[in-house]
Subunit: 331 residues, 2 copies
Amino acid sequence: MKKLINDAEHVVADSLRGVAAAHPGVQRVDLDNKIVYRAQPKQAGRVAVISGGGSGHEPLHSGYVGEGMLDAACCGEVFTSPVPDQMVAATKQVDNGAGVLQIVKNYTGDVMNFDMASELSQADGIDVESVIVNDDVAVEDSLYTAGRRGVGLTVLLEKIAGAAAEEGRDLASIKQLSEKVIATGRSYGCALTPCTVPAAGKPSFELADDEMELGIGIHGEPGRKRVKMGTAAQIAAELVDPVLADLDFTGPVIAMVNGMGATPLIELYLMYGEIEPLLAARGITVARNLVGNYITSLDMAGCSLTLLRADDDLVRLWDAPVNTPGLRWGI
Amino acid sequence: MKKLINDAEHVVADSLRGVAAAHPGVQRVDLDNKIVYRAQPKQAGRVAVISGGGSGHEPLHSGYVGEGMLDAACCGEVFTSPVPDQMVAATKQVDNGAGVLQIVKNYTGDVMNFDMASELSQADGIDVESVIVNDDVAVEDSLYTAGRRGVGLTVLLEKIAGAAAEEGRDLASIKQLSEKVIATGRSYGCALTPCTVPAAGKPSFELADDEMELGIGIHGEPGRKRVKMGTAAQIAAELVDPVLADLDFTGPVIAMVNGMGATPLIELYLMYGEIEPLLAARGITVARNLVGNYITSLDMAGCSLTLLRADDDLVRLWDAPVNTPGLRWGI
């Protein structure tokens, strides 16, 4: 294992020290509790949006804390859910009387711990709602998940829910909007290599030199099938087909071609160049797109495709100003 | 070799098709000549800033074309200089009577071809000036370079020169400013793994499982020394020391901790968390920073450090609005 780390146990804590040093104008890091907050004081009467999950998917979630997106991110150890105490602390800290929306990726530990945190916070009189992202069409149930896994759509939802909160919508409306996003977004990914969790010290699975895994999970959970490496054109079709088979996306979409961590940008753009015409041929127009590393799996090579049906309201929320280390525009 | 490509020969062309599809509002791609231009019409009387070089370092240079930064980027094949015809075409296209600044990284092919293009364009009556970035303190002379190699400082210079052009400074002033940036910026990098050029099909060099290369070039050119893998704290010192030994940076700086392509963001922040205190202990304060993949080497794992002395003028130009796929703020 070759990594720029001090020791496997302190990777998340050490990395958060770097985050704290890098973005003091945008973020404040509670290093003891491994929670990233906005640096700016809360606005009165605005709903707060929080998220969190295992680390190793950066910039998700910590990189999306800032104006126009998340109010806080709770960072678990690598590929390990944060604990309810973190979520309770974050919820108390960000609530401003207008309530808190929790954005949860569908992994058993995350769902259980956010659920417990929600109950504890509600007992303290805070209005808390949760939504569970489950956009990965690859498999029903998985290694750490009952039902579908939550993956790339989380990035899009955090942007859109954050923008809705910023413009002053109430908690019930933002929850409803988030459920619409979840109902109308889908993802599918592939891996060319495994990733190595620092504490494990060895690759999470093995792939032959000429093989790839389709439908991979963001922690390396098994996908749908293992196939021989194909061309980018073939792989693009393998990504597009399962997503479109699952939901009709005819019309405008927000599309993301996301890198798993170790795949260079030149290849991600190449994939976008293959995917976009496949979508166009099916009557799907890309209203907005992201191409790059937005939800990663440590040093895994590969990519994923996320599509979200885009109406005028969603596009307007997408375009709203955002100022986070991971997404930044209009500020 | 596992890559998301169709075939090794068409990687750059195929990737640029993706760029063209992804950013039509910001960039226009001349696919025949492999040149990326701004999508917006030229402003009268503004100096144009162009750059270019071998592909494989994305987002450099193509990702930095847009408002507030480059007017055009000439894309060579992977790790191969663009040809003078590309630079001549770009120069003609972007000139608006106020002249064109070429930002050239110090590699023999790039310098020779930009030089030829400059002469040809001047013969056509265009006012062309060039600056050569040579910030890598690792070695004097290298595999493709007489003198020091040009690396990370190029990103910072493209931002600063682009901002100076945007606010209407004249060609001589922008050249002088660029030379000041080059004189006061330094870089040093390390590799944990080699990279694989698609046309070669195999890693560019070999590194044992417990070894790293210090002072690596962005094409995998040999560095200063090969050492056993250390902790992040040790590696941080190995990066900081040669940079500070080469130039006194006491005072404010713009700092970049850059990923080589396959190193995850969690590790880059971890490195920033190690580097920033080392700088502080030497009287260096980071006025602005970048942490992420800004000048890469395909799928190489590793990172580099770039420091630039920052005065008020440079920080103001740094903060000026920029709207490119690779850097975006204030727009």
